[in-house]
């Protein structure tokens, strides 16, 4: 049974098994695009190697959370709504009363209250914030998480470079790999907290599976040398190696291994458990994790929905930051809280707030961030940015800089040099350490 011929049995079970592996790793509908783009085959530079201990966690509040009910309350104003502000650990800075735990942790968190990102439709706004640049017809720019995963990943790691949780279907986005190609696609966890299809088929031992893989790799290499080109084959080999790595690290996705008290601290909500899983992955060396929490689009009953969503967010993020800090990971992990936009100052007839991009907030903590820094401000009604205006490109430049990545570093798409952050972007230095 140890004969290499097992690997070429052609059974439907094996074929499906291998295919579903690849679908998990390469992500649904992703294609392997390697040739022609110098970026994909790039080996880590010395600088990149130094960065390999750095990680990033995107917390994506899908649908657009309200800045008034989180980071930029406007007490006593008609636009302010019914929630009261509370004092934070940062003198003179108040947040919404729905965030008492984060208020106490503000010395570890930086807030940008002065985003003006213009676009107020979900999809294009999410594209803008996710990539840090306006859409260009001739440039399929990848999502920032994909870039960060590529920049921060260790080439010899068997872990996924990027794991993306997005359970809610409304507003769901799959990180676009753009010109970096499908090889950089994240592992998507949408319907489950555990990757699918990573169990060995019944009757197949781990050794047998390993031998199959050795044979597949040898045949692939021979095929590559003769016909297809080494880039293509190395891409496939890399993908298969990730599958093996994923199978070996299956225990990372098992939250039952966490103490019950830890699980309780994070809360039993889906968002809480996903953030706990994110911490496990980051700790194990996954460089890029995204946890999307839907669905914040509060056109009606804005205050009811924020009464529900913000306390969970407050609890989970505060526990997560404390947990990362206690484990010595916060200094090397950049935590980014973003939405596609904020919510309108005006309260509509459905007691809701609509989309608003002219003055809203985001938050950052950890690697490269000056905790307690509050950048910018809005006017007394929260309608316009009064000071420190920043745009989506500035946010991207800030994120790259915080992680020690030069935002001016060029990728080459064909012959065109493309900087990581848009040419005119400026890092928000006041929140950088």
């Amino acid at each position: 049974m140890n004969s290499p011929s097992i690997s070429t049995c052609g059974s439907s079970e094996h074929l499906l098994y291998r295919r579903s592996f690849l679908q998990s790793v390469l992500a649904a509908n992703a294609t392997l695009q390697i040739g022609g783009l110098g970026v994909a085959a790039e080996t880590p530079t010395g600088e990149a190697l130094r960065r390999q201990q750095k990680r990033a966690l995107f917390i994506w509040l899908a649908g657009g959370s309200s800045q008034f009910e989180t980071w930029d309350p406007k007490p006593g104003r008609e636009t302010g709504g019914p929630f009261r502000p509370i004092q934070t650990a940062v003198p003179g800075y108040q947040v919404c009363e729905l965030m008492p735990k984060l208020a106490g942790l503000m010395q570890k968190i930086a807030v940008v209250r002065s985003l003006n990102t213009v676009i107020t439709a979900h999809e294009p706004a999410a594209d803008l914030i996710s990539t840090g640049r306006p859409k260009e017809a001739a440039l399929d720019y990848p999502e920032m998480g994909v870039v960060l995963a590529k920049e921060l990943a260790s080439q010899d790691s068997l872990l996924p470079d990027y794991v993306s949780f997005f359970p809610a279907t409304e507003g769901r986005r799959r990180p676009a790999t753009g010109f970096l190609g499908g090889r950089h696609a994240p592992l998507l966890l949408e319907n489950s907290m555990r990757p699918g299809d990573i169990d060995l088929p019944s009757g197949l031992s781990d050794l047998e599976h390993k031998e199959r893989e050795d044979l597949r790799q040898r045949l692939s290499s021979e095929f590559g040398n003769r016909r297809a080109g080494s880039d293509l084959v190395s891409g496939y080999n890399s993908a298969y190696a990730k599958v093996r790595g994923l199978m070996r690290t299956d225990h990372l996705f098992d939250l039952d291994r966490e103490p019950a008290a830890t699980r309780e601290r994070y809360g039993r909500t889906e968002f809480g458990q996903q953030c706990l899983l994110a911490r496990r992955l980051l700790e194990a060396g996954v460089p890029m994790v995204k946890v999307a929490r839907g669905f914040w689009d509060s056109h009606h009953d804005n205050f009811e929905s924020h009464r529900e969503l913000v306390p969970d967010f407050d609890n989970v993020l505060s526990v997560l930051l404390t947990d990362l800090d206690d484990r010595g990971l916060l200094d090397s992990t950049l935590v980014i809280v973003l939405s596609e936009f904020g919510r309108t100052p005006a309260i509509n007839k459905d007691v809701g707030r609509d989309h608003y991009a002219a003055a809203w907030s985001s938050a950052f903590a950890g690697c490269g961030i000056q905790g307690g820094a509050i950048h910018g401000r809005t006017d007394e009604d929260g309608k316009t940015v009064a000071d420190g205006e920043a745009n989506a490109s500035d946010v991207a430049a800030t994120i790259y800089t915080a992680l020690g990545i030069d935002p001016r570093k060029d990728y080459h798409v064909g012959l065109r040099p493309v900087p990581l952050a848009k040419e005119d972007s400026k890092p928000i230095t006041t929140i950088l350490s």
């Binding site: 839907g294 056109h299 009464r307």
Partner: protein, 338 residues
């Protein structure tokens, strides 16, 4: 035109514009004064008998949204998101009594007992509190509603009503639970479950929507009507059918349930004072709605389009008029041949 108007069973006869949202109202039958309050925390008054009714700003005693107003013997009792209950003289505007922390959470609704000797309030602390209407003394604090949604999130206790004989209190919450309480002993008599008012779609959006927004006893006390919204399919506004359920609260059986194609939440409902009709107002994706349902069958008899979305409705005791408040201000409706 005059003939056409006369054919309409209801007609908007006057509207007084207001910049914010009015959540609360009460009406003094004797003076014909309608009071309203909401997002700006101020209490306004409209003389509904005036030739050109206008809203007059009276006082601002709360420092957050005002959710409920009760007219009682020359006083306006108000409850708000500031957790306060405030008794104000309607004539002088002076605060007669104030309870700072009447609840540990937003006060959502307040009702007076028929005899006017007690009031009952509900709030986001999920407690039902009965007080002496004169002194404000706390007589009972009742606990029976779940403190969290089934998914572990904050819930809300939206509505309270007292039966016409003053013997029973009904309270209704976000997840569709109704509690019936003995008003004398505080005993929980019965729990009714109306989960169709509560939408939680874990696949689409992982967030709850809806709740029973209003509860009302029938004039004979035997029936209990509930109002809100049915299954919400989209969050770009209230995109779900208006929903009303009628229950025989003694037997604990639902008599009927009615949903309409009009996509909206019904924020308040009341019985017509003289006819077997249930009236409810609200608003949502299909716009504002003022609807009239047959009390026995649940059939929608008439649907009118108000100016803006309604939050509260008050019928005149003789059944000739209906007063409404909501987004955009006060409205006075003439009720004709329903």
């Amino acid at each position: 035109m005059a003939d056409e108007k006369e054919k309409q069973p209801v007609e908007l006869t006057a509207a007084c514009e207001h910049s914010g949202i009015l959540f609360a109202s009460c009406f003094d039958e004797e003076s014909g004064m309608l009071y309203g309050a909401g997002t700006d925390a101020a209490v306004y008054r409209v003389d509904v008998n005036a030739e050109k009714p206008a809203a007059e700003k009276l006082w601002t005693h709360h420092d957050n949204y005002v959710s409920s107003l009760v007219w009682l013997k020359g006083m306006v009792i108000s409850g708000g998101y500031d957790r306060k209950l405030i008794w104000t003289s309607a004539e002088s505007g002076k605060v007669l009594r104030q309870i700072e922390n009447a609840h540990d959470g937003w006060i959502r609704d307040v009702a007076a007992f028929p005899g006017g000797d007690r009031i009952v309030s509900v709030a986001d602390d999920m407690l039902v509190r009965v007080r002496d209407a004169e002194s404000g003394e706390l007589l009972m604090s009742l606990q029976g509603h779940a403190r969290e949604t089934p998914q572990g999130f904050a819930t809300a206790l939206y509505a309270v009503a007292v039966s016409p004989d003053g013997q029973t209190i009904a309270t209704a919450d976000r997840i569709g639970d109704v509690c019936l309480w003995n008003a004398e002993s505080g005993q929980l008599l019965r729990r009714l479950q109306a989960p169709a008012f509560y939408t939680y779609d874990s696949t689409k959006r992982s967030r709850s929507i809806g709740g029973i927004r209003s509860v009302c006893f029938s004039p004979d006390g035997s029936q209990l009507a509930l109002a809100g919204i049915g299954a919400v399919t989209n969050v770009d506004g209230f995109v779900g059918p208006t929903r009303i359920e009628m229950w025989d609260h003694e037997s604990g059986k639902r008599t009927w349930a009615a949903e309409d194609q009009h996509k909206a939440v019904l924020n308040h409902l009341t019985f017509h004072p003289t006819k077997p009709i249930l009236i409810a107002g609200g608003g949502g994706d299909s716009g504002g709605i003022l609807g009239f349902w047959d009390k026995a069958t649940g059939k929608l008899r008439h649907k009118a389009k108000p100016k803006g979305h309604l939050q509260r409705i008050e019928p005149r005791a003789d059944g000739t008029h209906l007063f409404a408040v909501g987004h955009g201000g006060f409205q006075i409706w003439s009720l004709r041949d329903l």
